[in-house]
Each structure stands twice: as C-alpha cells, then as structure tokens.
C-alpha cells in the first residue's frame, strides 16, 4: 500500500469509529426511551350476586376489598363474592400476595379460606386454597392461567370455615392478586 492509501485508511478508520460509536449511542438512547399511555384496565372487578354489603370496589374497579364473615365449625359460601370481567381476550390467574397475621395464635381460629374461579357454565376453572396447620397459614401456589374473553364474567366463589370454638372477633386479612397477561 502506498503512503497515501495508509493515510486514507487512517482517516476512514477515525471516521468509522466515530460513526459506529455515535450510531450505537443514538440507538441505545432510542431503546431507553419508553412511552406510557394511560388506558382503561382490560380486566376489572364487577359486583356479583353476593357482593351486596361485602364488596368495597376500588377506584376504576381495579381493586376489590371483601369483608367476609366466618362462623365456627361451619363453611360459609359466597357464590359470587365478586366477579371478574374483561374488555379484551386475556389470560388471568389468581395468586397469593400476603396473609396476616401468620405464625400467630389467632390463626388457629380458622380452618380454611378457598377462592374458586367459576365460569359461566358453573365449572371451577381455578382454585386458591388457604388452610391452617396450628398457628400457620399454608399459602397456595398460583392457579394456572385461564382465558377470559371480552365480556365474559368469571365469578370468585369464596368458602370460609372457622374452627370449632373459634374466638369471636378473630380476623385475618388475605391479599390475593389477579395476574393478567
């Protein structure tokens, strides 16, 4: 190679390093940009047949607080404690978040709390079962993902059983999540 070609190569190499690194930096900044647009949640809670007096729907129906009763040595069932519906076809599941108190003497006042997902055909499509062993709540694994079509309603059926001789006023708070994908 001639001296001039060496010089050309050096110049081109310098420009190349600049162009490639600058392009990579620009692409990286583009990748780091993100746009968040607020839109209505495609899956939300609605009142079910047994929601009256127990359901406190959160703002925009994306949160539901249920105040349920439990009686000693008997299973109390809420067939439609709250319903879940969708505006687009999605997959949902129920998963455990927290249970309080736990590892505490008051836990033994309860036997079980079961959340069942029931479809329009009255078939159970998912179940989240909490039961106690002494002072410990046994927490469940998430249900499998269940398809929910636009406009379809899935009922959340809750069954609660308190222990025989349970203390009046004992309470527990269970937080579960509806995962959507």
């Amino acid at each position: 190679m001639t001296h001039r070609r060496h010089l050309d190569l050096l110049v081109l190499l310098l420009i190349s390093v600049f162009v490639v690194s600058a392009s990579a930096a620009v692409y990286y900044t583009m990748n780091a940009q993100s746009t968040a647009t607020v839109s209505a949640a495609p899956v939300y809670f609605i009142a079910g047949g047994d929601s009256s007096g127990i359901l406190d729907p959160g703002t925009d129906n994306t949160y539901a607080r249920l105040s349920l009763n439990a009686y000693p040595n008997v299973t109390l069932t809420y067939d439609q404690a709250v319903n879940i519906t969708a505006t687009a076809t999605k997959q949902i599941r129920l998963s455990h978040v927290s249970v309080t108190p736990n590892n505490n003497a008051s836990v033994s006042n309860f036997i079980s709390v079961v959340f069942r997902l029931i479809n329009a055909g009255d078939t159970e499509v998912g179940r989240l079962m909490y039961n106690t062993t002494g002072n410990i709540w046994n927490t469940p694994s998430p249900t499998g993902y269940i398809m929910i079509n636009s406009g379809e309603e899935l009922a959340v059926k809750v069954e609660i059983k308190a222990a025989a001789g349970a203390s009046i006023g004992a309470s527990t708070t269970i937080v579960i999540a509806v995962d959507v994908k």
């Binding site: 190679m1 001039r4 070609r5 050309d8 190569l9 081109l12 190499l13 420009i15 190349s16 162009v19 490639v20 600058a22 392009s23 990579a24 620009v26 692409y27 900044t29 583009m30 990748n31 940009q33 746009t35």
Partner: protein, 163 residues
C-alpha cells in the same frame, strides 16, 4: 417461547446498515481494486445512515412503526446490495475468482446471514414480511438493471460485448 430481553427497534436495521457501509468503506480502502473515492463514498453513506438514525429518534413518535421499519430496512437492503455488488464486481469485472470467493464467504454470506437472523427476530406480522420481500425484490431488480446498463467491459465478459 423465548423473548428477547430487549425488543429490537426498527432502527436496528439502520444501525446494521451503517455498520455494513463502514465495513465496506474500510474493505474497499484496503483492497487495491477500487478507485480512491469509493471508500469515501461508502463512508458518506454510513454518515447518511447515522443522520437518518438521529432524525428517526427525533420523529420517533410522529412516524408509525411500519414507516420506520420500511425506510430502515430499505437502507439495510441498500447496504446489502452494495456488499453483493462489490462481490459481483470482483467476480465479473475484475475476474478475480479466488478473491471473490473469499469475499463471498467472509463478507457477503455472513452479512446476509446476520441480516436474516435479526429480521427473523424482529419480523412480527405479514405486512413486515411483505415489505421486506418487496424491498429485497426491488434491490435484486436494481442490481440486475445496474448490470444491464453496466460498462462495456462487464457486458463483454458476459459474452455480449461484441454485439
């Protein structure tokens, strides 16, 4: 199904095209078969791609993803056409069979493979596949026309020079 940690943006094809043009610039500078201006021309093409990348960032929200994909892929197709063109130039015009074979296996084939790989990761729907096929077809047609109207020497080599 496996997902990429970060989804590819359409501008990735622009970035890939810039890299190919830069590589072409350096390769044509090293090889003695090209005029002095050719590497600078490819460097200019790379800078043009970089400017496009900058513009794309500024107008990212205004342009739809399909439009961004179309012009980014067109730029990449142009870069690939040049890689193939250089290969064909070595083979047909310069009659350098061994160099052309080395270039094909070391540069042309890997660049096409890399492009196809990233397109397979990005391509989500039929419209993108259709656009890519259309642009690739146009690129092949462009290269073909370039050969038809190419200098007499190439035509001669192809057996039509004496007509």
């Amino acid at each position: 199904m496996y997902d990429l940690a970060t989804e590819l943006l359409p501008e990735f094809f622009l970035f890939l095209g810039v890299d190919f043009f830069v590589a072409l610039s350096l390769l044509t500078c090293i090889m003695d078969y090209f005029r002095r201006g050719v590497p600078y021309l490819y460097e200019a093409a790379a800078i043009f791609g970089y400017v496009n990348l900058l513009m794309s960032r500024e107008f990212m929200s205004a342009w739809g993803e399909y439009m961004r994909f179309s012009y980014c892929f067109m730029y990449l197709a142009l870069a690939l056409a040049n890689v193939i063109g250089i290969n064909a130039y070595l083979l047909v015009s310069k009659n350098l069979w061994s160099q052309a074979k080395v270039f094909a296996s070391a540069v042309t084939f890997p660049t096409i493979l890399i492009s196809a790989f990233f397109f397979s990761l990005y391509g989500k729907d039929a419209s993108q596949l259709f656009t890519a096929a259309l642009l690739s077809g146009a690129m092949v047609l462009g290269v073909g026309i370039a050969f038809l109207v190419s200098p007499e020497k190439i035509k001669k080599h192809m057996g039509r020079g004496g007509e």
